[in-house]
């Protein structure tokens, strides 16, 4: 698939971060669809299947990203998901993201820091898409 045929779903309740991430992903050559809340994203994925999703963690609720991830994996088990978190401490509120059992339950393919450099993000997205196509 050419980058131009690939759609990436970005969900974040911070409209500025959403805008900036979207700009980066466009630079990589991908198409994007966006939502500003878990609720909005759930509606969006009813009709549209993205090729990859990047989800914020804390939105309406502090675990919105996890719940959205769980629901997406149930509907589209083959769509890779990246959970982007702002700070390490943010994930310490309910449970430890690095815990094996939690990872099993959450089922995200990657956890990335929101401050990640553009090049690294590109690599991560490419790897996930590649793994998915092989």
């Amino acid at each position: 698939m050419k980058p131009g045929d690939i759609t990436i779903l970005i969900v974040d309740d911070d409209q500025d971060y959403l805008f900036q991430l979207q700009a980066k992903v466009h630079q990589f050559g991908f198409k994007t669809i966006t939502a500003e809340s878990q609720q909005e994203a759930e509606k969006l994925i009813e009709k549209t299947k993205p090729d990859l999703a990047i989800l914020d963690l804390m939105m309406e609720n502090e675990d919105s990203g996890f719940i959205l991830c769980y629901k997406m994996k149930k509907k589209y088990p083959d769509v890779p998901i990246i959970i982007a978190t702002g700070v390490a401490a943010e994930t310490g509120i309910n449970f430890d993201i690095n815990d094996e059992n939690n990872r099993k339950w959450i089922k995200a393919d990657r956890f990335l820091d929101k401050g990640i450099r553009k090049e690294r993000l590109k690599e991560e997205i490419d790897n996930l898409l590649l793994k998915n196509n092989s």
Partner: protein, 377 residues
């Protein structure tokens, strides 16, 4: 039922078995404790054996004879002190000299039981110690909870402070890379958004200062007779430019003066927050109605808005730190999420009450009641 381990170190077998027998079916139970305690007695005939047991099977309570065949009781006590073991020690001794008592106390002995003792004497001493162990455990767990709350607060705070910084940094990088071409005006949106985020951050810092003031206490309070209608008027004047922007009418339905003994600044914080919320979460062309009346021994303050309202589930959360109602209607409203938590804490300090009723898309009513006879709690 909890079990406390009691180690008896005494070279007389009769004393050891006697203690075991007395405490075998003994239970300590008080109305304020949520569970009863029973006891498991472990015996040692020398100080050396006692230390082994302390290391392998840490007891909660140690009944310690001083005169032992090998090392003396006082040395066992010193060992416990040096190793900072969390054990309550009671000396059982037949001829306690004053020097020994002083030394033992300074090494951390909690009590003395003279030998020979009656079962009742032993039981009442154990009863006191159990109460102490229980309270100590409670204090520790309360302190842990306090620490936990503090930790959660700080992690959310760091998120709230980092989010605007990340946004601004992101925009600056985009501008530096000239992502939208060479024309400066193509970056106006990014610059405006950055300024908005800075403004939001400044509000957060101001709210944090208010919160620190509330939590650091009542000592700095300046209680005077305050006319709440005056305070309301000032708060409304401060908010009026914002209300005009949103085309929201501000109505004050009290003539005043309505006087209460309170800290004027704290009353201002409460009113500012309630009024600014009532404007913020209103609809264009809406209204805010503010009433202050004295009703018996209560001051009743009511702020009614014609805004977007809340669901019962949303109301439940709004007084918590950093909680902001997030939905399509609030998407473009900014705030620190601290305002109402500050208001609630202040009102609690005055032994007052705050209640909310709301209908989605019709508006919310905040009812504050402050007692006028005990304002300085």
């Amino acid at each position: 039922m909890s079990t406390l381990k009691i180690l008896v170190v005494d070279d007389e077998p009769g004393i050891r078995s006697g203690i075991s027998r007395i405490l075998r079916n003994f239970k300590v139970d008080y109305p304020f404790m949520d569970e009863a305690f029973e006891f498991e007695v472990i015996e040692a005939s020398t100080g050396e054996a006692g230390i082994d047991i302390i290391e392998s099977n840490q007891p909660d309570i140690l009944l310690l004879d001083n005169k032992l065949p090998g090392i003396q009781g006082i040395e066992v006590l010193e060992y416990i002190k040096k190793k900072q073991k969390n054990i309550i020690v009671v000396m059982i001794t037949s001829y306690a000299s004053l020097e020994l008592a002083v030394k033992a106390t300074s090494d951390g002995a909690y009590d003395f039981i003279p030998k020979p003792f009656t079962p009742q004497e032993l039981k009442s001493s154990i009863e006191n110690i159990t109460k102490r162990v229980f309270l100590k455990k409670m204090t520790n767990s309360l302190q842990d909870t306090g620490k936990q709350i503090r930790f959660t607060f700080l992690s959310v705070l760091s998120h709230e402070l980092k989010a605007p910084l990340n946004a601004i940094e992101g925009y600056l990088k985009m501008i530096r890379e000239r992502q939208s071409g060479p024309k400066l005006e193509d970056y106006d949106v990014m610059i405006d958004r950055s300024l908005d985020r800075i403004k939001g951050m400044r509000h957060l810092i101001l709210d944090l200062l208010d919160l620190t003031r509330v939590e650091s206490g009542k000592a700095k309070r300046n209680i005077t007779d305050v006319d709440l209608v005056m305070v309301a008027r000032t708060a409304m004047d401060t908010m009026r430019p914002y209300a005009i922007q949103r085309d929201v009418k501000l109505n004050l339905h009290s003539q005043g003066p309505v006087v209460i003994a309170a800290d004027a600044e704290e009353m201002e914080i409460i009113f500012n927050n309630l009024i600014s919320n009532a404007i913020k979460y209103n609809r264009d062309g809406g209204s805010v109605d503010f009433t202050i009346v004295l009703n018996g021994s209560w001051m009743e303050i009511k702020v009614v808005d014609s805004g977007i309202g809340m669901t019962p589930a949303e109301i439940e959360k709004i007084f918590d730190d950093f909680v902001r109602i997030k939905n399509d209607k609030t998407k473009n409203i900014t705030g620190s999420g601290l305002g109402l938590s500050i208001v609630k804490k202040l009102i609690d300090n005055y032994a007052g009450k705050i209640e909310v009723s709301s209908i989605p898309d019709q508006g919310s009513t905040f009812n504050v009641r402050l007692p006028i006879d005990k304002p300085c709690l």
